[in-house]
């Protein structure tokens, strides 16, 4: 595996070979091992080691980019020259405000040796625990167990220098009967947080309780959303609007709402790349330390996250949210404030509603208000008179996520970390919402 010294050597070589007036270099390295299972057995089992060097060359106000994974001196030399030549071809960029200046990111110890050293046999053992439990219950388990190491490093002609290594371990499970399915997902930056037994219990329990679902009419329902469904809401709100570029262009749900109450006072959402309770990444692809960003505070919309470009346009400082080498800024380390309710309390206080485990294939239907459409999946239950009465077939919804969060009636006291793609995670509570718009049912 490429380690810190080699990362710094690759960046140093790029800096040495660059003849651009200025440049910065972003190196990302991933060691990923992933074991997939289906039908209570392992069917795909992979490992990869990959690294990419991203080069941004600056000639006056002209920017050129190149990417390579050829780390020979010749390969790096070709790429830095290509970036410089690309810069010369570009017109001047009026929105370029200079490369970021050095700043010291927080030291975030999110590297766990046991996680980094986890073996194929160890993953098989975890998967075996799940499969044996499912089989004993007459269920069919599918899912994935992944572990790995992610390293990022930045070096620039302005003196920016940053390195971070983190680990990750995650397990997701779908347990299925002939008529139902149940879901569980867990993990964090350390293996010890991946509680295999309890995740298996959660997924199989939901699959057993979900058997023989009945069809119900679409319409408006009060809903209790499990952590996974709340994760989907935060992910969509991030993707479709927490970045300053989308706000500046009027495409974001946040556009025009700064300082206004758009959600329930029970809703506070923030991004914090240095919090070990999340999946921390302490600086961005420009080497700028991630600042905590308060997106919504007690229902009042705050400010979006910035990279150096969007920050320059507004004359503010970058919040360190240039997640990738290209594209706009993005909030990726999200948290939602919990409340003082238990899930059972939320169900008990619901006369008629739905308990929803998670959403599936959610897509933006309209940008204004972040209107999303998608399906329920892996455990949807009808609540009647304060108790779960029976499982129901999956429903399609078409619903503004902003409007949905305006109707938060209660938030769970326990928050859960939900890992998504590498470096993107949310820590969220269970929520009770007064109304959610279901527009169709499936077979």
């Amino acid at each position: 595996m490429i380690g810190r010294e080699e990362c710094e050597a690759i960046l140093g070589e790029a800096l040495r070979l660059s003849t651009a007036q200025e440049a910065d270099f972003f190196l990302s390295v991933e060691e990923l091992a992933l074991t997939r299972f289906a039908g209570n057995s392992i069917h795909q089992n992979v490992s990869h080691s990959s690294a990419q060097l991203h080069i941004r060359a600056v000639m006056g106000r002209r920017l050129g980019r190149a990417v390579t994974n050829d780390f020979s001196a010749e390969g790096i030399g070709k790429a830095v020259e290509r970036a410089r030549l690309n810069a010369q071809l570009m017109p001047e960029d009026p929105d370029f405000y200079g490369l970021p200046t050095p700043a010291r990111p927080s030291l975030v110890p999110s590297y766990d040796e046991a996680t980094a050293r986890f073996t194929p046999e160890g993953r098989a053992e975890a998967v075996g625990t799940v499969c044996r439990k499912a089989q004993a219950l007459g269920l069919n388990a599918s899912g994935a167990c992944r572990t790995g190491v992610q390293q990022i490093a930045v070096l620039s002609t302005r003196g920016v220098q940053a390195y971070h290594a983190s680990t990750f371990a995650g397990l997701l499970i779908t347990a299925m009967s002939d008529t139902s399915s149940g879901w569980a997902k867990g993990g964090s930056w350390r293996l010890a947080d991946m509680d295999v037994e309890s995740l298996a219990e959660e997924a199989t329990g939901k699959a057993l309780r979900g058997r023989d679902p009945r069809s119900i009419e679409a319409g408006q329902y009060t809903v209790v959303l499990d952590h996974y469904a709340v994760d989907d809401i935060l992910e969509a709100l991030s993707f479709y609007g927490m970045g300053a570029q989308a706000v500046q262009e009027g495409r974001s749900w946040m556009a025009g709402l700064a300082g206004q109450r758009a959600m329930s006072p029970q809703v506070s959402i923030w991004d914090d790349g240095a919090d070990l309770a999340g999946w921390p990444v302490p600086f961005d692809a420009e080497g700028v330390p991630r600042q905590r960003a308060d997106i919504v505070t007690e229902g009042v919309v705050g400010a979006p996250v910035h990279n150096s470009n969007t920050a320059g346009k507004e004359g503010v400082a970058s919040t360190g949210h240039q997640a990738h080498f290209t594209g706009g800024p993005m909030a990726r380390n999200l948290f939602m404030m919990g409340g003082d309710s238990g899930t059972e309390d939320m169900i008990a206080s619901t006369r008629r509603g739905l308990f929803i485990t998670r959403f599936h294939y959610t897509r933006l239907a309209h940008g204004k208000g972040c209107v999303m459409t998608g399906m329920t999946r892996d455990g949807t239950f009808l609540i009647e008179n304060g108790r779960i009465s029976h499982p129901v077939k999956n429903l399609r919804f078409t619903q503004s996520y902003v409007a949905a969060l305006a109707g938060v009636e209660a938030a769970g006291r326990r928050t859960k970390l939900v890992l998504n793609e590498v470096g993107f995670a949310t820590r969220v509570p269970v929520l009770k919402l007064s109304s959610f718009n279901f527009t169709g049912v499936t077979l």
């Binding site: 392992i42 069917h43 089992n45 990869h48 073996t119 194929p120 046999e121 599936h360 294939y361 239907a365």
Partner: protein, 490 residues
């Protein structure tokens, strides 16, 4: 290169692999983005690496690396074998997925040999960056000539993927696949609304296995002003009405995506057998439906192929070395065939139809659509509209979502028109339609002819864990559907 490949195959066999294959890939990619008159991206990417896939004791292992050295070949091959042995610790139960036998069976050996290069008239990598940027900047000026556009974006992408595949059964093939893609988007913001129009299709660009000629034929600049004008007009257009049983003519590019989501994914045999159950989902097209299920009406004919240029799924061999081919999926509405790998085909006693593709050297091949297309019918579009007393025309995808069995879908389109007494009427915004896949395709009563048929594209189709983005082609012409629910957003 060949020495490294032979080394990996030999080492895999020595370490106990009953089967092994190796892919070595180099991908070069150029990307250009012009946004609001400024060049946002001019990027050149190169990625080189290899992957080793082995079958040991009836179980799979795969490992990969960007470091093409003999010592790394040895390490990665040994790791692939170790991973396969770990897979064998949790072996398959006798089930549908393995034909009731347990373990993996690949069917007849694959011994393909040869080379393939995408035919191109003009190598896109031979065209200067200045010419590419000039084309995008001209299109940007065209969009800028329309007042009311907040975001103008144009992009071009060019990909050259060189790969060598070899296996322990004697296959050895080399391919160079070219792709060229481009498109423009205009976003209008105002009157409390956001509206976007794209050209030639949404999803940022249209892409094909072709050269620079694919881009010049699009005429992005010539369509820029119209595209922007439509976005502005949509801000004040009437909302799509809500109706439960409307007649809808779906435009070609939108119907291409409909085929992709409701047919292409549903016929992936790995999904059917549960391999994607925890992620993308399964499929309602279970194996008991093969050959007899009425998927659509008599006028619905769908073909899967990897030979029809400029479809994005056109190649010489798939990533198991199986030759490119064309197979029927739906004939006169009847469901006839899946997309298959060697392993899944053997479960049904069939031969693979060459659908295994990996997005990169560091990914395992999965069953992916190549080109899945709705074949043309007999109708001229003008005649079809004239034949529609009351209905709606919807074009260019804006949103898409479908359930985990590929039954319940909902699509939004960028633009719609009312049809009244056989003529296109008022412009409509925020159009949506929704339905259940077999009910929808069985409601199709007319498909337009080859004059209106085009090979559209899905340049970023996600599947698998770790995630993979495939490039797929979908031929389609406008078609008419009866009794469709529309207007969910109103």
């Amino acid at each position: 290169m060949d020495e490294l490949i032979a080394r990996a195959l030999d080492l895999a066999a020595v370490r106990g692999a009953g089967y092994a294959d190796v892919r070595v890939e180099q991908t070069d990619q150029e990307q250009y983005v012009v946004r609001n008159g400024a060049v946002d991206t001019l990027s050149v990417d190169q990625s080189i690496g290899f992957g080793v896939r082995v079958l040991v004791d009836g179980a799979w292992g795969f490992a990969s690396s960007h470091d093409l050295t003999s010592s790394e070949i040895d390490r990665v091959t040994a790791l692939a074998v170790r991973i396969a042995r770990a897979s064998a610790l949790i072996p398959p139960q006798p089930s549908l997925r393995n034909g009731g036998l347990g373990g993996v069976h690949l069917g007849p050996p694959v011994t393909s040999r040869g080379s393939y290069t995408t035919p191109v008239q003009v190598d896109p990598f031979s065209v200067s960056a200045e010419a590419k940027l000039a084309l995008l900047l001209e299109a940007d000026r065209g969009m800028a000539s329309v007042r009311g556009i907040r975001v103008r974006q144009g992009s071009l992408i060019f990909i050259r993927q060189q790969k060598t595949f070899a296996n322990t059964e004697g296959a050895h093939v080399q391919q160079t696949i070219y792709e060229s893609g481009g498109g423009i988007q205009a976003t209008a913001v105002g009157q409390g609304e956001i509206q976007r129009r794209s050209f030639p299709q949404s999803q940022r660009r249209h892409q094909g296995c072709a050269g620079w000629e694919f881009i010049t034929r699009m005429d992005l600049a010539g369509n820029a002003e119209r595209t922007a004008s439509e976005a502005v007009a949509l801000l004040s257009a009437d909302h799509c009405p809500s109706e439960l049983t409307a007649t809808v003519i779906i435009g070609g590019s939108q119907l291409g995506l409909q085929v992709h989501e409701s047919c292409g994914h549903a016929i992936e045999l790995d999904r059917v057998m549960g391999a994607e159950a925890a992620f993308a989902g399964t499929s309602f097209l279970t194996t008991d439906k093969l050959g007899g299920f009425q998927y659509g009406s008599e006028c619905v004919n769908i073909t899967a192929d990897s030979v029809r240029l400029p479809g994005l799924g056109t190649f010489g061999w798939d990533d198991e070395g199986v030759p490119a081919q064309s197979t029927p999926v739906v004939e006169n509405g009847r469901f006839l065939g899946y997309l298959m790998s060697r392993e899944t085909a053997s479960v049904l006693g069939l031969a693979s139809n060459g659908c295994m593709r990996a997005s990169s050297w560091n990914r395992l091949p999965l069953i992916r659509m190549a080109n899945v297309s709705l074949e043309p019918g007999p109708w001229e579009l003008e005649d079809l509209i004239s034949d529609t007393e009351k209905g709606f025309y919807m074009e260019s995808n804006r949103s898409w979502s479908i359930d985990d069995k590929r039954y319940n879908f909902q699509f939004g389109t960028e633009l719609g028109y009312e049809i009244k007494k056989g003529k296109l009427g008022r412009l409509l915004r925020n159009c949506t339609y929704t339905g259940i896949t077999p009910q929808f395709w069985n409601s199709c009563d007319a498909v337009c002819n080859e004059n209106h048929w085009e090979m559209w594209s899905t340049p970023q189709c996600g599947k698998g864990q770790p995630g993979q983005l495939a490039h797929t082609g979908h031929g389609a012409a406008p078609a008419r559907f009866r009794g469709v629910r529309i207007g969910v957003l109103k």
